[in-house]
């Protein structure tokens, strides 16, 4: 299907497939709000975030989820190969108006199903030393 070919027999559980650091700024949040249609002001207005008891503006969980899987997509070669992708939102990503926020994503091979040509990529996403996604797993069709 894709121009990139990965030999499933060459893979080992635990192999690192890639890592990437994403810098979320307020611009990223506004861009994601527009692209997704999620205009909840907790993602762009400090005063509103504080009024509902938050420490400040935070990233859309779906932005973190959507960015994290890019590590698996970049490895697999194309977005159409992700058969199944799930995460748990464990911690909010607070995005400072000036400094933004850094989310460091790492992907490893978690499971290999040779008969079905499926590989599970386990992703970790860390911001300010805290895991912001839990059980982030993407099944890739090879």
């Amino acid at each position: 299907m894709s121009t990139k070919h990965i030999d499933i027999n060459s893979l080992t559980v635990g192999d690192l497939i890639g890592s990437r650091t994403f810098t979320f700024t307020r611009d990223s949040l506004v861009r994601y709000a527009g692209a997704s249609g999620d205009f909840n002001p907790i993602h762009y207005r400090d005063d509103f975030a504080k009024s509902v008891g938050l420490d400040g503006v935070l990233a859309h969980g779906m932005l973190t989820m959507g960015a994290a899987v890019q590590v698996a997509i970049d490895w697999a070669g194309d977005a159409g190969r992700i058969a199944d992708y799930g995460v748990r939102f464990t911690k909010p990503v607070f995005v400072d108006a000036a400094a933004g926020a850094s989310v460091e994503v790492t992907g490893k091979i978690g499971e290999i199903k040779i008969d079905e040509a499926l590989v599970r990529i386990d992703l970790t996403a860390v911001c300010a030393d805290l895991a912001v996604l839990g059980k982030a797993q993407a099944w890739v069709r090879l």
Partner: protein, 163 residues
């Protein structure tokens, strides 16, 4: 949507957070959503995707697709349309100012492509109590214009209990 949604109410307005009786309730199919190329490019850029098949039509076709490939989490846009029907349902009585996105999963039978016309059908899979909070899980099935299943989106929202 996560950590709250469009329909804001003051946090001090307390009430029962979710009506347990909506467990198993199915909501009617949404109007078709036509997936456009520029929408895919816009969404892909917003999630930091540089994947050629999401940006370049020739690359998508060379990879065997009919058109641009949406990132896997693009299905949330379709899921949202169904969630809004639940929001508007007085029977469900969900106070979305108290909602936190707990977890999310997308199971793709095939990727969403530019040109797809998608409808979605949402079912409330479960409503559970967790101390003062409620957890509500939605299964949203997304179909193409041939009525073939494209993706199932599974979303759990945590609704914080009243103080």
């Amino acid at each position: 949507m996560c950590w709250g949604s469009a329909n804001f109410k003051p946090i001090w307005q307390t009430r029962a957070v979710v009506n347990i009786n909506v467990q198993g309730k199915k909501y009617p199919a949404t109007d078709p959503y036509l997936v456009g190329r520029e929408k895919i490019r816009e969404f892909a850029s917003a999630v930091f995707s540089t994947s050629a098949t999401s940006h370049d039509v020739d690359a998508a076709i060379a990879a065997g697709y009919a058109d641009l490939v949406a990132p896997p989490t693009f299905a949330v846009v379709i899921q949202e349309r169904s969630l809004h029907t639940v929001l508007a349902d007085p029977e469900a009585d969900i106070d979305f100012s108290r909602v936190v996105h707990g977890d999310q999963r997308f199971v793709h039978k095939r990727p969403i492509l530019a040109g797809d016309e998608l409808t979605s059908v949402l079912e409330v899979a479960s409503v559970k109590s967790l101390g003062a909070h409620s957890m509500i899980t939605f299964n949203t099935e997304i179909f193409d214009s041939a009525n073939e299943l494209v993706c199932t989106a599974i979303s759990t929202l945590v609704v914080r209990g009243g103080e």
